[in-house]
């Protein structure tokens, strides 16, 4: 349970998926009104259920990450496909960006780097633990106990109504991370999430978020050029900073 509610700033992809789930209500006006008047906890629960019980969720994302040392932040854009129970894919739109696929059924963890013309392949078990948990046990997110409170924040030049979420069980070694989520006022679907701690923060905006009635498993399929090499995924390829700094 503790792991399921661990809203860590380090697991950005997990946060993205959580953000979908942590958002409010549906697209129907009546539902939006109902959500607006519901208790925060109830509203958040409903949002979580909508996403984590979906067949598939697709979205464009803009991720802005702060510099822990006080420098300017960094912004990147990409797309996310989340198939609860089946897999997760994040594809960066940035030059040299990666395409990452975790597929539970295929038992694979793939990282494609177009700039290197290499796809790094590993078993499912080598995917980050948080990502696997999100895919395997989305229900645990729904069962997790956290507290939600209404809070307005200034996002994109406008004050937005949203919810601040915290772990319910204090007294343990609670990470000092606060998560805030707000819905797109036009659709009621998740739009903004901010996770901030004492060290850094990350803002994620979900644009054109779509919940599909049926999963398209082909969304987890990497379309690779013929000359792409496949290499085993050695975590040092992902963590070269450890070699020099």
């Amino acid at each position: 349970m503790k792991k399921a509610v661990s809203l860590r700033i380090s697991a950005v992809v997990a946060l993205c998926a959580l953000a979908w789930g942590a958002q409010a209500a549906g697209s129907q006006p009546a539902r939006k009104r109902a959500a607006a008047h519901a208790a925060p906890q109830e509203a958040v629960d409903r949002m979580l259920a909508r996403v984590f019980r979906a067949a598939e969720v697709r979205s464009r994302v803009t991720i802005t990450r702060s510099d822990p040392f006080g420098g300017p932040g960094e912004r990147s854009q990409g797309r996310v496909w989340f198939l609860p129970g089946r897999g997760l894919r994040y594809r960066s739109d940035e030059k040299g960006g990666e395409d990452i696929v975790v597929d539970r059924e295929q038992r694979t963890f793939l990282v494609y780097r177009p700039s290197e013309q290499v796809v790094y392949r590993a078993d499912w078990d080598r995917a980050p633990a948080r990502m696997r948990q999100l895919i395997e046990e989305p229900e645990r997110i729904l069962e997790a106990k956290f507290r939600a409170a209404r809070e307005r924040r200034h996002v994109g030049g406008v004050w937005r109504e949203g919810y601040r979420m915290q772990r319910a069980t204090l007294g343990d070694s609670l990470p000092s991370v606060a998560v805030w989520i707000a819905a797109d006022p036009g659709t009621g679907l998740p739009r903004w999430i901010t996770a901030g701690g004492s060290e850094d923060s990350i803002d994620v905006e979900f644009r054109s978020l779509t919940i599909l009635p049926k999963a398209v498993t082909g969304d987890l399929h990497l379309s690779l050029p013929h000359d792409v090499r496949t290499e085993p995924l050695d975590p040092r390829d992902l963590l070269p900073g450890g070699e020099s700094r």
């Binding site: 950005v12 960094e74 900073g241 020099s244």
Partner: protein
């Protein structure tokens, strides 16, 4: 770090002692805390190439580094003297403890090698003050030792800018690390090379510096929050030592993997 602004375009020095004085004044002056942002790529012999982004902040003998893979904060590392902390966030695992020179991991040498343009570190400056200097290729060559850490050769251009550094760690199996310095660029915190390249045992690591600026020392966190479910290893236990060597590409004999 290094250069006070305006010190970069150095005239050719007519004697070794003048070249040394000028180099120390320009490149080994005391300075405040600094931070940077860079792209890093790694090529290993017989293997592929990896790349990532890093942010770092340094204050005297201490250094904090964060590595990002795509949008994810993947790795935290810090060095405070001989105290090392590494967190591999992707795998909820970390290691901490004291580096021991006799085991092939010298913390202060690692600190210098991490930012090899910073000749102001006391130990490094002291070594340069006592190094032999001779003309070489139109520029100058320093040769000496960094205490018990190892022997070094530093070559300067005819303008007195660092061009290459070779450092061989102490001991029979001491690993040789070579550093090449790219042309200097102006940054907020001064002039430093636009890129640095490390070579060791067939591996080549290239750091392309994008931003380099002063930082408030209070913003540098060397000990990030550690979550209870992470597996933390001690550096003096076999698994911890193995993790650090694995990340650094060093085998049990103290040399990098071929």
């Amino acid at each position: 770090m290094v250069l006070a602004s305006g010190c970069a375009r150095l005239p050719k020095q007519s004697s070794g002692s003048r070249a040394r004085d000028r180099f120390l004044a320009a490149y080994a002056a005391a300075h405040g805390p600094e931070r940077g942002v860079a792209a890093i790529s790694v090529k290993r012999a017989g293997k592929g190439q990896g790349s990532a982004r890093v942010r770092w902040a340094a204050n005297q003998e201490s250094l904090a580094v964060i590595g990002y893979v795509g949008p994810t904060r993947a790795l935290d590392a810090s060095l405070q003297g001989d105290e090392l902390l590494v967190l591999v966030r992707h795998y909820d695992v970390g290691v901490s403890g004291k580096l021991r020179r006799e085991e092939g991991l010298d913390g202060r040498l690692l600190r210098f090698l991490a930012t090899p343009w910073d000749f102001g570190l006391p130990r490094v400056r002291g070594a340069l003050e006592h190094a032999a200097i001779e003309p070489a290729g139109g520029g100058w060559r320093f040769q000496g030792g960094i205490e018990e850490g190892g022997r070094f050769t530093l070559e300067l251009s005819e303008r007195g800018e660092p061009r290459s550094l070779s450092l061989r760690a102490a001991g029979e199996r001491g690993q040789e690390i070579r550093v090449r310095y790219g042309p200097e660029r102006n940054y907020t915190a001064g002039r430093i090379p636009g890129w640095i390249e490390w070579s060791f045992s067939g591996s080549v690591v290239l750091l392309t510096i994008e931003d380099f600026a002063p930082v408030d020392a209070s913003k540098i966190r060397y000990r990030p929050a550690i979550e209870p479910e992470w597996r933390m290893l001690a550096l003096d236990e076999p698994d911890g030592s193995a993790l650090v060597r694995w990340l650094l590409g060093i085998d049990e004999g103290g040399t990098a993997e071929p």
